[in-house]
Point group: C2
Chain length 227, copies 2
């Protein structure tokens, strides 16, 4: 089950062994069924052994999310225009959750503060290259973060039961366009993907406008940190 080579005895486990096992379990059965007893059982270890490595169940979940981002190679690409780089990141995150829909849990933060800080700094530098500064810079960042987290939580959360429930609801509306779009989970996902693309471009348009106004109006075309 785990990607990391498990010790044959199941003893002497590392932090990552628990995180990987949690990720595998959640992929297979969902977040809710994951109990520390079930996790211990999967690793051939007592339920409370996990406390030697983590302070709480939530920490295990945070570590599992981190493992997912690592496994799916989610990162900001280093080539392309700032806009292209941001769009690629948003798509990368979306595809990571597409592969691990049960991990789309809102309000699950990462433990690694340093990595998070570096990520945010790089994202801010891209937005600065698009001409944003001051409160506008933070507003633009917040808008994109909320969009990414929100759309992943709603599109993938409790997948596929959540989406199937919405599908059945759509069929009750009795509108021809809704009927066509809600034929299957696959057509629902297609609509979600198109909505994601449309929204991402629209938000990036708004970011560009917000950055562009300042630059043409005040004549600041990148006098600050461009490199």
């Amino acid at each position: 089950m785990t990607t990391m080579p498990a010790r044959e005895s199941g003893k002497g486990l590392s932090r990552d062994a628990y995180a990987d096992a949690a990720l595998d379990f959640i992929d297979a059965h969902g977040v809710e069924p994951l109990s520390l007893r079930a996790l211990g059982n999967q690793l051939g270890v007592h339920a409370t052994a996990v406390y030697r490595h983590f302070d709480s169940k939530n920490e295990v979940l945070e570590a599992a999310l981190q493992r997912m981002l690592e496994r799916e190679n989610v990162q900001i690409p280093e080539t392309g225009t700032p806009r292209e780089q941001i769009l690629a990141l948003l798509r990368g995150l979306r595809d990571a959750f597409r592969a691990h829909p049960h991990m789309a849990i809102p309000n699950l933060t990462l433990q690694d503060e340093q990595a998070t800080v570096e990520f945010v700094r790089y994202a801010l530098s891209l937005l600065e290259q698009m001409g944003l500064q001051g409160d506008d810079l933070v507003v633009a960042y917040q808008m994109l973060e909320t969009f990414s987290v929100g759309t992943n939580a709603y599109d993938w959360g409790e997948y596929p039961e959540g989406l199937e429930g919405r599908r059945r609801g759509r069929r009750l509306v009795g509108h021809p366009a809704m009927d066509t779009a809600s034929r299957s989970i696959e057509t629902m996902t297609e609509i979600n993907d198109r909505a994601f693309e449309l929204a991402a471009e629209a938000l990036l348009d708004a970011v560009e406008r917000l950055g562009g106004v300042d630059r043409s109006a005040v004549g600041v075309t990148g006098s600050r940190d461009r490199g």
Copy 2:
């Protein structure tokens, strides 16, 4: 505690009495601390009495969400342009969750299928008035629904602990604009509100473009259901 007049004995309770009590409890203490034992205790009734009115705890939560929307008078206004009506609805929903942040639970659907169907139909008719049809209509609807649910879940979810956690994270970034924006929960909320407004307008711009293209290209300027 409850808005509805509670019977003095605490017995012979209605469905709404449970829903109201759940909403009050969640407003006061959050979703997680709400147990059926705590709910029964608040109503002066045994923990399992709730099962005479609801099939599961989740149904109680759905009913509490419904009571919230009723109490906060969330509805689509009937005056203004379609765009204005949609924007007013998005703001109304946001303000309802602002008043009941602990209720911002993703993937919590409503029980009342008929009301939901009517709501979606009316929303669709507004989008049709903006020139949308076919898959584009559904994509536009989906984009706005995802935005609304996602932004409420992320902005208000586990408020204020969630936002406070993000605030501390922002302060670690060490960027002057972030420092200014993350001075307090209030400044964080201000940024969130501005991000919401910017995103809502950007998405509605995209919807307008998506509807407008068809109309000018095919020459359909509202030959269908405009009234």
